[in-house]
């Protein structure tokens, strides 16, 4: 089937099998490989992308279901090539990662959290990222990264990347 997907603000026409997941479409068809497969049954959150600003598991969404929505992947988070969003920069500053495999999903989840809640408590951060597994870090430095990003966003009077992603019209 032929679809038009809005990915990171650009309209993309794709030809995929009906059964193709959004994850496979992003990775294999559009070659946006920053979105990664973890369990492929909706548990680990590795493949998280934002659909109209909300985190979803792209392994559980068919590509066809994303038509008409704004899809944000990790490639759409930085303000410009070679730059980092405030959240991405905070993940680097706090070393909120090790192998990097869960990181795109974690960053997008954090972007979505901070778009709706500029001053989350530690418990709210833990709750927000609890659907994203990480096997390297034990989450401590990830929580610290989100806390740091929240402080920096507030003090810089800057909106998180997810807030820039308006739903597709």
């Amino acid at each position: 089937m032929e679809l038009t997907l809005t990915v990171n603000g650009r309209a993309r026409r794709v030809q995929v099998e009906d059964r193709c997941t959004l994850l496979d479409c992003l990775r294999e068809t559009l070659r946006l490989t920053g979105t990664r497969a973890g369990c492929e049954h909706g548990v680990c959150g590795t493949c998280t992308v934002l659909l109209d600003g909300e985190p979803v598991r792209s392994c559980l969404v068919l590509a066809a279901q994303a038509e008409g929505s704004a899809v944000t992947t990790i490639e759409g988070v930085a303000p410009a090539p070679g730059e980092l969003s405030v959240v991405q920069d905070a993940f680097c500053e706090a070393h909120g990662m090790q192998c990097g495999y869960c990181t795109p999903g974690m960053v997008l989840t954090a972007e979505a959290l901070l778009a709706g809640n500029p001053a989350p408590t530690r418990e709210e951060i833990v709750e927000a990222i609890s659907g994203n597994l990480c096997r390297c870090t034990g989450y401590g430095q990830i929580v610290e990264a989100v806390e740091l990003a929240a402080v920096r966003l507030r003090s810089a009077n800057t909106r998180p990347a997810a807030a820039r992603m308006e739903p597709a019209k």
């Binding site: 369990c39 492929e40 495999y101 990480c134 401590g140 430095q141």
Partner: protein, 805 residues
């Protein structure tokens, strides 16, 4: 003990130990990491394995005609066809009749084993075709339980081998029987470590391409495997230089398990056979059942002989490990703990019976700590039991048994000499932090409120430096006495510095490590140093990041290579300035004579690269130096009585953990976690902290949640997805307070020790101690990991039923 391979460099340091961003993080945060699944080659084909439905069966016939008829399918290969074309995969144990091929040959030995492989133009087509393959099986009797497998009457997993016993070694180090006879107190206990693993979020993936013009096999793999290119070459009957493994692949977590040798050999063979690039990328089900990445499953029977004051005189330990259907490296996981078999304690005599058996379960692979975490759990349980038997405080019993700081270097009965440590001070710091946090008072308050509450204690060691002495110890045909690593440093004609590392990494920040180590020697900003990973044919020898070794081994190699490069700079300056080298001062890349004449970096580079007439006679032009670093203290074969020096360095950690248990639900809830950690000189503080926190999370999983279970009736794996193999989320991992101590290793360049297994080596023991402390008022012991809520609540319910009856 040998002298250190390279002279120590002691602080104050410019870059070592300083807060610094991890250079790898930037590409990961932007999604630009390059993992095995991101490798896409023109014309690439996709391989999917067909897996056995039976735990044991004879393969009677395989009919792939319907699959081959599907458009887009390029090949179906069976085990019989493959075995005719390749050599068996390497065994760790000496068991030549336990043959292992990537695909089952004649007989399947576990449910999930690969029986055939389909290659097609897309993964989806290959999966469709897999459904069309008809395999006729004749089911055979099977054995799942490790103790049952010991029985000579049990069904042999490998009939040619004659029994299920892969390894059966008795070691006696010291006067064990005499110590038991003389000791006033003895106790015996059994603990069981359930089968879990580190389960990285990235499954295993490999792509191979055969270049028939170059006669060269290119391999991109999600790998953490020593001697990986050699093993592929041997299996495929290729010369070693016909296999080129690309190291510039980011590995999405491993913690020991990303071995993937069967995957790589299979795909390498297919790429040659079909003259096309072939990728095999496990899905999660394939990974959990046939990825051969499950960890130790171990029954410990332990006896301790001890004094009335709690000092342990001798230990007898039998460890029975159920390694699953094939040998691999797994029996060696009973060997590595020999290097710290007494933990931090001055136990004078040990008898150790190491038993590994095959069963019809998924094969075991190396898991974080290589068998040390289970052994630490068994030993720590014993120390708690001694305290309980004597009515003594568990902390005090540890203090009485600890090796004292002034006793280092300290040789344990099994032959390893511990490099340095101060266990009393480390425990003291952790206890002080725990008291400040009020965890003892909090336990008492919880108990008063009707909850079961306990404090867990564990004080354990992390042998680090990754020597492989357990190989010759457990396999007399194996004479491996080096486990080297390497680095090359070059300065190009523009003056820029590039350093190399010769393996893949899985999140351990090795590029940052190399940059900091080289920068410390050359006294230049680490950000000026590029770190690259040549492919295996352009690499010096490496043994990959196993055995908590890279800070020690790669750090050591990087320092040594940088020193050799610096020596070239000094020689150039001495010759050019006409001053003896000893009179020159090197600072920040500039070399100055006593009379204040000096050559700066740019001029030194200019001379080396352009002005040969200014070079010292007999020297080579350019600036390049490399080092291949031997493991400090390595190099010796075991003695006839089974003693060997194992790892060079010994990090220490202690955990104090407060757990509350609702008596009805039985679910242990972690309220506070305090860790004391000593890994010598810390090179990258954020990295070490992250690894420790991550190791604790793995430990929480192993102790409370994770287990690869099997159905007793059918032999089927019943934890084959993330739905039935629960792992800790952010909710299950508490905030951890880490207190640091530093006893530098005298054996390493900066005084560093390993930290890649920290947290995991003591976390499970601490949680078991906490749960058992909570249950002590009920007279209960939970002696099996994972400690699932149902097991705890059932045990509690049994005691209350008995009370009412």
């Amino acid at each position: 003990m040998n002298a250190p391979a390279t002279a120590p460099l002691r602080g104050p340091f410019r870059y070592v130990g300083k807060k610094r961003r991890v250079r790898e993080d930037r590409r990961f945060a932007t999604g630009d990491g390059h993992y095995a699944a991101d490798v896409a080659l023109p014309g690439m084909l996709h391989a999917v394995p067909l897996q056995s439905e039976y735990p044991a069966a004879r393969i009677v016939a395989i009919d792939a005609s319907a699959a081959l008829a599907l458009p887009g399918v390029r090949a179906v290969l069976t085990g019989a066809e493959l075995a005719a074309a390749i050599e068996p995969l390497m065994n760790g144990a000496h068991a030549p009749l336990v043959r292992r091929y990537p695909l089952a040959v004649g007989q399947v030995r576990y449910a999930g084993e690969w029986v055939a492989v389909v290659v097609a133009e897309s993964r989806a087509i290959a999966e469709d075709a897999r459904e069309l393959i008809a395999v006729e099986y004749a089911p055979l009797p099977f054995v799942l339980d490790g103790e049952a497998a010991l029985d000579p009457a049990s069904p042999p997993v490998h009939p040619d081998h004659g029994s299920n016993v892969l390894l059966d070694r008795h070691f006696v180090w010291g006067e064990v029987d005499a110590a038991f006879a003389a000791a006033p107190r003895r106790l015996a206990y059994r603990v069981v470590w359930g089968r879990s693993s580190t389960v990285p979020l990235e499954t295993f993936g490999v792509t191979a391409r055969w270049d028939h013009g170059l006669e060269l096999l290119d391999v991109w793999a999600s790998i953490q495997m020593p001697k990986f290119p050699d093993q592929i070459a041997r299996a495929l009957r290729l010369p070693g230089n016909a296999v080129r493994v690309h190291h510039d692949i980011d590995v999405g977590g491993s913690y020991g398990v990303k071995r993937g040798i069967k995957h790589a050999v299979l795909v390498g063979h297919l790429a040659r056979l079909l003259d096309a690039p072939v990728r095999l990328l496990e899905d999660r089900l394939e990974n959990m059942t046939g990825g051969d990445m499950q960890g130790p499953e171990r029954i410990f029977d332990v006896q301790l002989a001890f004094e009335e004051d709690g000092r342990v005189r001798a230990m007898r330990m039998r460890a029975l490990d159920n390694v699953g259907a094939y040998a691999g490296r797994s029996p060696f996981q009973l060997g590595k703990p020999i290097g710290a078999i007494v933990g931090p304690y001055a136990i004078g005599a040990v008898a150790y019976h190491a038993l590994a058996v095959t069963s019809n379960k998924t094969p075991q692979e190396a898991v974080r700590g290589f068998g040390q975490a289970p052994t630490n759990y068994a030993l720590e349980t014993g120390i708690d039991r001694v305290a309980e038997a004597l009515g003594l405080d568990r902390l005090e019993v540890r203090r009485r048994n600890f090796i004292r700081a002034e006793q280092f270097p300290y040789t344990i009965p099994s032959g390893t000499t511990y490099d340095s440590g101060d266990y009393h001070a480390l425990l003291g710091k952790a206890v002080a932090a725990a008291e400040a946090a009020g965890i003892f008072a909090e336990r008492d308050r919880l108990r008063a409120a009707g909850m079961l509450a306990g404090i867990g204690v564990a004080t354990v060691l992390e042998p680090s430096g990754g020597n492989s002495s357990f190989e010759p110890l457990l396999n007399p045909h194996n004479r491996t006495t080096t486990w080297m690593d390497s680095c090359r440093v070059t300065v190009d004609a523009t003056g820029a510095v590039t350093a190399t590392l010769h393996t893949t990494s899985a999140g351990q920040a090795h590029e940052t490590l190399v940059a900091v180590a080289v920068a410390e020697v050359l006294e230049i900003d680490p950000e000026r140093i590029r770190v690259v990973r040549p492919d295996s044919l352009g690499s010096l020898p490496s043994n990959s990041p196993v055995g908590s070794r890279m800070a020690i081994m790669l750090g050591g190699a990087a320092v040594e290579a940088a020193r050799r490069l610096k020596a070239q700079l000094m020689a150039i300056a001495a010759h050019d300035l006409g001053v003896a080298e000893g009179a020159l001062a090197y600072e920040g890349g500039r070399v100055a004579a006593p009379d204040r004449r000096a050559l700066d970096w740019a001029e030194l580079v200019q001379i080396a690269h352009r002005e040969f007439f200014r070079l010292p006679p007999g020297s080579e032009p350019g600036l390049a130096a490399s080092a291949i670093y031997q493991v400090p203290t390595g190099g010796q074969l075991p003695t006839a009585d089974g003693r060997v020096h194992m790892y060079p360095c010994h990090s220490a950690e202690c955990h104090l953990v407060l757990v509350a248990i609702d008596p009805v639900l039985g679910k242990p809830e972690i309220r506070r976690w305090i860790t004391g950690h000593d890994c010598g000189t810390v090179i990258s503080p954020d990295v070490v902290r992250g690894m420790t926190l991550g190791g604790i999370a793995h430990g929480i999983g192993a102790a409370l949640l994770e287990e690869f279970t099997y159905d007793r009736e059918t032999g089927q794996p019943t934890a084959a997805s993330f739905m039935d193999y629960p792992m800790p989320s952010a909710h299950e991992v508490p905030e951890v307070e880490i207190v640091h101590q530093c006893t530098p290793s005298p054996l390493t360049v900066f005084g560093q020790k390993g930290s890649g297994e920290s947290g995991y080596l003591g976390g499970p023991a601490a949680l078991a101690s906490a749960v058992n402390d909570a249950l002590r008022p009920l007279g209960l012991h939970i002696d099996r990991l994972p400690m699932r809520p149902a097991a705890i609540s059932d045990a509690i319910a049994d005691t209350t039923t008995q009370e009412t009856a």
